[in-house]
Amino acid sequence: MTKMHEHDRLGRVRRSVGLDRLRYIYHLTALRIHSEIRNYSLGFLWWFLDPLINTAILYVVTAVILQMRNEDTALNILIGLLVFRFLQSAITKGAGSLRPAFKLSERLYVPKYVFVISDVLAEAFKFVIGTTFVIALLWLLGGGDVSAPQVLIVTAVAFLFSLACASLVSVAAGLVRDVQVAIQYAFRLLFFVSGTFFSLEQVPTEWQTTFLLNPFALLIQEYRVALMLPEQLNYAFLVLLMAVSLILLAFGQWILIRYDRVLPKYVI
């Protein structure tokens, strides 16, 4: 068996060998997923239990205590939580992925951007499983109006957006630990203003467009449209978000690649 970097120098995957790089990302992602499953006794069951338990908690608070109830409250919360948890985990874990990479960098060369991508991919994989679970649930309960192409489009935009954010904040969080703490606070705020446990209809009409300028709110709303509502996606906003994500992604990845061998000098 030949080494992965057979035609490479310095123990790293050569840039031109794209296929090897993709294989590397694939194996690293698989390793992340495998490691997470092995870390808990209930393994992957947590991927389903986590949104269900959180949905139950939020349902009690919103529908029972606050009486903010309509016929789809439970499903709205489940989808909202699924999307929000994906974005939160992907960005937080992607942001934190450079720390272990820097630890390895004491002795090994590891391409930093690969770590960010594989972390976001691992979370995306869990999200896809979760979405499949929700679709199965909708099918069993006989509700919803699932549109597979719409789900794919929103998933692609959500993935791009989370990868772009993770790439950008990973550098800052890798260099300054406090950024990781700031991210936690940012997500706490976003949880309450992104429509995780309420729907767009519950937002005053004059505020709805502004509300959708929040990418988190937009993606949660579009997921609800793709899975539950017989409506068209808000393509204008989605295209805008995708374009912004692509620009941010390109910039984030450029920083990660450009300063790949400079960043380890600044981390202790």
Binding site: M1, T2, K3, M4, H5, H7, D8, R9, L10, G11, R12, V13, D20, R23, Y24, H27, L28, L31, H34, S35, R38, N39, P100, L104, S105, E106, R107, L108, Y109, V110, L175, V176, R177, D178, Y259, D260, R261, V262, P264, K265, Y266, I268
Partner: protein, 388 residues
Amino acid sequence: MRGGKPKKEEVTSGRPRELSANDIAQGLAVRVTRMGVKLPLGRGASRLWGRRHWALRDINFEVQRGEAIGVLGNNGSGKSSLLRAIAGIISPDEGEIGVAPDLSAAILSPGAGFQPHLTGRENVYNSSLYQGHLPKTVVSKFQEIVEFAGIGAWVDQPVATYSAGMRLRLGFSLALHLPPDVLMIDETLSAGDTAFRARAKELIEQLISSERTVLIVSHNADTLRGLCTKGVVLDRGRQIAVCDISEAIETSQSISLQRETPSLAIRGGCSQASKVTQELLALQKQLGALQTKAMMQAQAVRESTEGYVAALEEVIQFEKKRTERGRDVAPPSSGVAHATQTNEKVYRKLHDTKAQRREALAEEQRLDMQLADLREHLAGLQGQLKGL
């Protein structure tokens, strides 16, 4: 990433350059040219805009294919930074590093990326992935790796249940069985128990004899002498010498010894510097012994002076008493005899202590002159070394 913008032409892109076809034809594996690495100081966010220091500067040497080179120097001399730069982990801030394009270079990293909740088997694949090997590369070597580590059935238990030695053996075995073309070993040869160390050393010797290029950082002179042919000596980020391993070890040891005495900079060509350094060190030893002797002599002078003063006081007391006795009553015959004896004793003592003090002072003076000569000689050698 600030701290003084370096000139554009001085900065490499970060990726070590590929050596030219001519260099490769000459059997060159690695070439380091005028290489310097700047590292930030401070901690936290202040490292981003704070001061930076040259961890390495003006490093120049070449490594031939199949050559084993020892990298020597005190702690903080820049050995690890040099290996990290050659491995492509950090980029040089000036100069460049060239590596033959068909060679991979990496630092031996036993147990890199091990996760305690995963089994030994899972961690072998995990760690090898971080080291750049896809799982299919590891499959064919897996049995060999486990056997060499000597962990047997434990391979399917979580690494958290391993002893520190077992974990280390597994990591070391993995790293040694999937070595890069240019293998760099940074202080990791002391891993495991004696038997495992012997096997690991044997495996490294096999790697060296199989034309693999090796760079070893170690403080163990015997290990370096046994494995390497050439040595690179570093001191405070500067290259002191690139020479035969024995000379390099001598030079490195001289620097270590030098650090223990008031600092004297040692720079220059290996042979001459080594020769002058040896002379300088011998003189310094002599100087140290002489200084101790002089200190002891000063103590002897102090003691003899105190003895002389005490003897003088005794004589004064004696004379005083004798005067008083002579004035009051004449001493009996036995008393006269006693007084005469005592008289002889105190005056003899005064004479003896005075002679001792004079000798001690003369010796002290002689030692002071010797010390002055030696210091002058040392200053001359120091100047000579600086010139080198």
